[in-house]
């Protein structure tokens, strides 16, 4: 198969870090904070590399949008087994307002340019929890989508995807080219070991600007303010149901 897979990876604040709202309430402190690859993106990369190892696809290309630092994230993907990387340079104010719509436009343009046959993304990023990029990319390309994938198989030239849905598991068969978004149980990502990181340094990362792809990264959303969630109040214990009803009436709930 001469298929080429495009994998999107996002550099996000590490899940274990306690985040802090910036004093000017415009966002979250990111300077110096530990960042790592979005866990769902790791699963996506792992799936792409597994497909390559099964010889079902020929090339895995890792893509990330952001400032200089995302190159580390692309290198991790290369160390996991991707063949080459594409760094779409977005920095400063543009990066702060970069959202799923712009990223899906970029991915769609790249998919056409690189003649990709499959795009695998994480189902959502742990910083914004949008869960939109995969779906929007598929729509822009007019490709079928297999989201929340917990199993992916290539059969003939169709894709069989088992999706995790509210009611259980749904199995669908979609045509290639397609967009797949990875859910937690798709696989267990491998570690990016040191020898692979060293080899990854020799793999190419191409630099591209959104303008080169004909994409306008300006945002149609304006963040008004960012606040911490309200402090959790202590609960109140009541002795009888009567008391409970009384308290609820007091609080105006019933």
């Amino acid at each position: 198969m001469s298929a080429r897979v495009l994998v999107g990876v996002k550099r996000v604040i590490d899940y274990a870090v306690k985040i802090r709202v910036k004093p000017d309430r415009t966002g979250v402190v990111t300077d110096g904070v530990k960042h790592s690859m979005n866990p769902f993106c790791e699963i996506a990369v792992e799936e792409a590399v597994k497909l390559k190892e099964k010889k079902l696809v020929k090339e895995v290309v890792a893509v990330s949008c952001g400032p200089q630092q995302v190159q580390e994230t692309i290198r991790t993907a290369l160390a996991m087994g991707a063949d080459r990387g594409i760094h779409v340079e977005v920095s400063g104010k543009d990066y702060e307002t970069l959202g799923p719509l712009q990223v899906s436009k970029i991915l769609a343009a790249l998919a056409k340019k690189e003649q990709a046959d499959l795009i695998i993304l994480g189902k959502q990023a742990i910083d914004d929890d949008c869960n939109q990029t995969g779906q929007m990319t598929a729509a822009l390309l007019d490709w079928p989508q297999g989201t929340f994938a917990s199993e992916v198989n290539i059969e003939a030239d169709k894709l069989k995807v088992v999706r995790e849905i509210d009611g259980g598991l749904e199995t669908i068969k979609i045509n290639l080219p397609a967009v797949v978004t990875a859910d937690l149980r798709l696989n267990t990502p491998r570690y990016a070991t040191l020898p692979n990181i060293m080899k990854a340094k020799k793999k190419k990362i191409a630099n591209v600007k959104p303008a080169d792809l004909g994409v306008d990264v300006s945002s149609r959303l304006e963040v008004l303010k960012v606040d911490e969630p309200p402090q959790r109040q202590a609960g109140v214990k009541v002795e009888t149901v009567h008391d409970l009803v009384g308290k609820l009436k007091e609080a105006g709930r019933i």
Partner: protein, 610 residues
């Protein structure tokens, strides 16, 4: 978090019963099945305690390691390691030679495991990178005000800092050391140093002639029970002509090297202190950037060495770095350095600064206090020790960064001349570089450490703190350490604890959630994580010898006595994923039963500019 004293009686009964059963010494596996709790699984699964070649789960697993060669491998990406790397590359470009320098660092990014006050003396930095200011080194806060005081429960007695006293900070900078180390890492990368954060050196490799060959990084993909997972992969071997070990205070590889090469034969054992630190954003009206405050006294008694620091940083927002240091030679097992720190913050003079503020970071790290008397042999065939690992901290100044950096530079210079010497005939496969130790003895580090060598040991007298201060005043200030005698330390910190029955329990106030906090919420702020269930970084030899007040020896709630599911008695639970890598349990445990080993790389705290 329960005070250790409340449960010690029950825990003691539990262990007492077990000890009666365990009449003679038995192998650890048998012990675990004889325990009073049927749920007590092995307290450690590390391969240094349960070797893999006897473990059936490891049969047939590929154990071959990929190996690579470099000229110099540096373990530890802290001030010492990075200074050595930078110096090596500077010399290489100066002499137009090619040199491959690799730095391995267990933190996920350079600076993420760095914790210090810190008040930096820029002497070593100016020697290493004279144009540090133009290059944007984050030394943004020159010291403008310097205060030293003795605290009592309610009052503050100011002590004048006369010029010449070690606490005088004129000319120094208050820095966020994590950011400084990150900047050093950037300088190193610019010069072509290969930095590998997220990869811990877990093993020292030896040539057949016994010299150091290099290091191996940790294996990945091991389950909590010690068996290999599907994603198991062996670590990598990095071979070098010479390996520099800059693991920081009480490094675990250095611990092995001391034994292997008998490096501590002619010096006193190292003594330590634990440093706890928090970062606070305070009310702007109370913020005086450049103000440096140190205190001794309350809440510690005069026989427990320790004190506090409070630095007002000038980094944009009104930030203060404050912390508490307690010497680990404390004798009372009921003493909890963490709670002393929280209690200290309630002192009126400190509370006035913190009121209305917000805590944004917490961390802890051991630091060495042995000074001159505890310096081991620094060089052995194939390797050298640099930085806080052998320990060059100037204790009264509480500064060790400048000496660490200088030691890295000296090691680099001596290594460079040996490596690039084309006519070199080395007796051992790994280079032996005694020139490092000679250069060290001629350097200003040696002179500095020699002059303050008697200050810390002078605290071991009946008057404790006050005797020490008198000694410092007389002998250091007047004589500058030229007195002909050298006082000794008291021995290993681990031997200092007195039995609980001989000591008075300390009643600590409950944390109020605004100024003082409990341990669990503090751990959350350190951003610590190890991939659960993979945390494997405590290899404990014999669980029954773990002493009871061990709960106080972790500054991140690693050791916990939890009630048994059956209801009667307690069992020890080890939450290794909370570990902030401070190394205190390894240092202080009286039976020296705990061996801290590296977890899978990139686990641990995620400090940001601590």
């Amino acid at each position: 978090m329960f005070p250790a004293c409340r449960y010690s009686l029950q825990a003691r009964r539990c262990v007492g019963a077990l000890k009666a059963v365990q009449a003679e010494h038995v192998a650890p596996q048998v012990c675990s099945t004889r325990s009073s709790s049927s749920t007590l699984s092995r307290i450690t699964t590390h391969y240094s305690v349960y070797p893999r070649d006897k473990d059936p789960r490891w049969e047939g697993v590929e154990m071959e390691r990929f190996a690579d060669e470099a000229d110099v491998v540096i373990v530890g990406g802290g001030p010492a390691g990075l200074s050595a790397a930078i110096r090596l590359k500077q010399l290489a470009s100066q002499h137009e030679k090619e040199l491959r320098v690799c730095v391995v660092e267990k933190a996920s990014q350079i600076g993420a495991h760095t914790l210090s006050g810190a008040c930096l003396e820029p002497t070593a930095l100016s020697e290493l990178i004279p144009d540090w200011k133009e290059r944007g080194a984050p030394l943004n806060t020159p010291v403008t005000e310097d205060k030293f005081s003795i605290l009592t429960e309610k009052y503050r007695i100011p002590v004048p800092i006369l010029p010449g006293l070690p606490m005088n900070n004129h000319g120094n900078y208050l820095v966020r050391l994590g950011h400084f180390v990150r900047w050093l890492g950037e300088q190193a990368e610019e010069l072509g140093v290969e930095l590998y954060p997220g990869y811990a050196a877990s093993e020292v490799l030896f040539h057949e002639d016994g010299s150091v060959k290099g290091i191996a990084t940790n294996d990945v993909g091991i389950a909590k029970d010690g068996s290999p997972k599907d994603v198991f992969e062996r670590g990598m071997e990095l071979h070098a002509k010479v390996t520099l070990f800059g693991e920081g205070c009480h490094g675990h590889l250095a611990k092995q090297l001391y034994k292997q090469f008998n490096l501590r034969g002619n010096c006193e054992p190292q003594t330590y202190a634990i440093g706890l630190k928090e970062l606070w954003v305070i009310d702007e009206k109370k913020w005086c950037p450049g103000r440096t405050e140190h205190s001794v006294g309350w809440p510690l008694n005069r026989n427990t060495y320790g004190g506090s620091f409070l630095y007002h940083l000038n980094e944009g927002e009104p930030l203060v770095a404050l912390g508490f240091v307690v010497g680990l030679d404390y004798t009372n097992p009921y003493l909890s350095p963490f709670r002393e720190f929280q209690r200290w913050k309630h002192h009126p003079s400190i509370m006035s600064t913190l009121e209305g503020g917000n805590r944004i970071a917490y961390g802890a790290r051991a630091l060495n206090e042995g000074g001159f008397q505890s310096i081991p042999k620094l060089t052995f065939p194939g390797g050298m020790l640099i930085g806080c690992s052998p320990g060059f901290m100037n204790v009264p100044k509480i500064k060790g960064t400048h000496t660490a950096m200088k030691s890295g530079m000296l090691a680099a210079e001596s290594a460079f001349s040996k490596i690039t010497d084309e006519n070199l005939q080395s007796e051992t496969a790994g280079l032996y570089i005694p020139e490092y130790e000679e250069a060290f003895k001629k350097s200003w580090i040696w002179k500095e450490l020699y002059s303050v060598r008697n200050i810390r040991p002078s605290f071991h007298n009946y008057f404790g703190l006050y005797g020490g201060m008198v000694y410092t005043g007389i002998f250091y200030w007047i004589l500058r350490g030229k007195e002909p005698w050298t006082l000794k330390h008291n021995g290993l910190d681990a031997d200092q604890l007195k039995p609980a029955k001989d000591c008075t329990p300390i009643e600590y106030p409950k944390p109020d959630g605004k100024i003082s906090f409990d341990l669990l919420s503090s751990v959350a702020l350190s951003g610590t994580n190890h991939d659960v269930p993979v945390a494997q970084n405590l290899a404990i030899y014999d669980v029954f010898l773990l002493h009871l007040e061990i709960e106080t020896q972790s500054f991140s709630c690693v050791y916990e006595y939890v009630p048994l599911e059956t209801g009667d008695g307690m069992r020890l639970q080890i939450n290794a994923q909370n570990c902030v890598h401070c190394k205190t349990c390894d240092i202080k445990d009286p039976s020296q039963n705990i061996n801290w080993v590296v977890p899978e790389g990139s686990g641990g705290p995620a400090y940001n500019g601590m």
